[in-house]
């Protein structure tokens, strides 16, 4: 298989609290993986460890077979290839919409301004935010910000895009637009890892669903396996809380 990222024996603790306990999984090219689980199960922490925003306490992350923390490997280079979309958007407040999409290209990928602008325009169109290109990023609604954040990540031509609960901070009427953009990306073959509470969405787009509980991967499989025939008791319990609503 063509693994882009391999996570092996990942450990993370905050003080005495073990947040992640020996987590192992691979991300393959073109795959859409969703990670579900209750709050505090370690989903977001795991995603943040993959992008090195959170320090690992143990384990290794291999990127195309190479340990990203081995000396001599450029962490920033790795990060530029692994995009991240945050729950709280984190658009750069001092930059306009299009500048948000250009700065990484110019400063990290060393693209020319023209090239960066063309790419930014392309992806802003794709997420339906082109008409806001010259607006201040602080003037947008949550859903608009998140779509720009997705465009910003796409502009870096990432190999993998990580989504950390991308719709959790949105008003309900904004959720649909962001999920639609993500569905399009999934259909285009982008490799994505998505932490989400949107079960219907997870069912529709995923190639693989990972259910996390108390810092471990409790169960994983196809959406069909996880949602219709969960094997573990705790998976059933978790899913029943959603279907009852």
């Amino acid at each position: 298989m063509n693994e882009i990222i391999q996570i092996q024996h990942l450990q993370k603790h905050f003080g005495n609290l073990k947040v992640l306990n020996d987590v192992n999984f691979d991300i393959h090219k073109g795959e859409v993986v969703t990670i579900i689980g209750s709050s505090g199960s370690g989903k977001s922490t795991m995603l943040r460890c993959v992008n090195l925003l959170e320090r690992m306490d143990g384990g290794t992350i291999l990127y195309h077979g190479k340990d990203i923390l081995a000396s001599g490997n450029d962490v920033n280079q790795y990060r530029s290839k692994v995009g991240m979309v945050f729950q709280s958007f984190n658009l750069f407040n001092n930059l306009s919409v299009i500048e948000n999409c250009m700065i990484g290209q110019i400063k990290v990928l060393k693209r020319s301004k023209e090239e960066a602008r063309a790419k930014a325009e392309k992806y802003l169109k794709e997420v339906g935010m082109y008409e806001f290109a010259d607006k201040a990023s602080t003037k947008l609604s949550g859903g608009q910000k998140q779509r720009v954040a997705i465009a910003r990540a796409l502009c870096m031509d990432p190999e993998v895009l990580l989504f950390d609960e991308p719709t959790s901070a949105l008003d309900p009427e904004m959720v649909g637009g962001v999920l639609d953009v993500m569905k399009d990306l999934a259909n285009e073959g982008l490799t994505m890892v998505i932490v989400t509470h949107e079960m219907q969405f997870a069912k529709e787009v995923s190639d693989r669903v990972i259910f996390m509980d108390q810092g471990v991967i409790a169960e994983q499989g196809t959406p069909e396996e996880i949602f219709n025939n969960p094997k573990q008791e705790r998976t059933k319990q978790f899913l029943s809380r959603y279907s009852n609503r």
Binding site: Y78, K81, F89, I98, I103, G104, K107, V108, A153, M156
Partner: protein
Amino acid sequence: MSINFPKALEIFQENISLFLYGIGNTLLFALIGTLVGFLIGLLVGGIRAIEINDYDSGLVKVLKHIGRWITSFYIWVFRGTPMMVQAMFVFYLLKPVLQWTPFVAGLVIISINTGAYMAEIIRAGIQSVDKGQNEAAMSLGMTTIQTLVFIVFPQAIKNTFPSIGNQLIVNIKDSSMLNVIGVTELYFQTTSVAGSNYKYIETFLVSALIYLFLTTLASFLLNYLESRFDEERKTKAMDFCS
């Protein structure tokens, strides 16, 4: 106790060139001190805001620690002693080596002194910037320095602009302390005038009114700049992409 107002006006008119010379120098020291102090503050505040990451190599960690110690020491010393004392000490300490004039020494001292205050203002400004801004920049692969320069500093400066501007007003007044090393700023000129006419009350009334005029002017200017700052941000954020 009485103030002879017509006499004050007369003193001002008679010594106008002396006063103007003093005003010019006072403004020069205040402006350059604030500007250079601001640049020092960016550097020092930036160093103090750099976080020591677990991913850093041993050498980088050591360098960051050293940077932190040096900047802490600098701020401790220059905020903890009067500028008047700093002026005397530094001027005479380095005079044999640098052969400098009070004018140059004064510029250096007011800049270094202001830098210590600015560093703390800017550090607070950096800490006021949402951590998510840093994380987003990191997730794009930007280096710590790039993140500071292009993302964090512009926001930190904007957030603390009133405090930064306030240093200009402080410096208009505090540059008077540089008279101890013989810098011919407004206070120095005032004492010269008063020393020759013995009208201390009227002469220093003139001086006070001039200082008040300068600080008022500066605060109007700063308020204007602050409102412009907000306006500009709405239309155009930064020009590196245009």
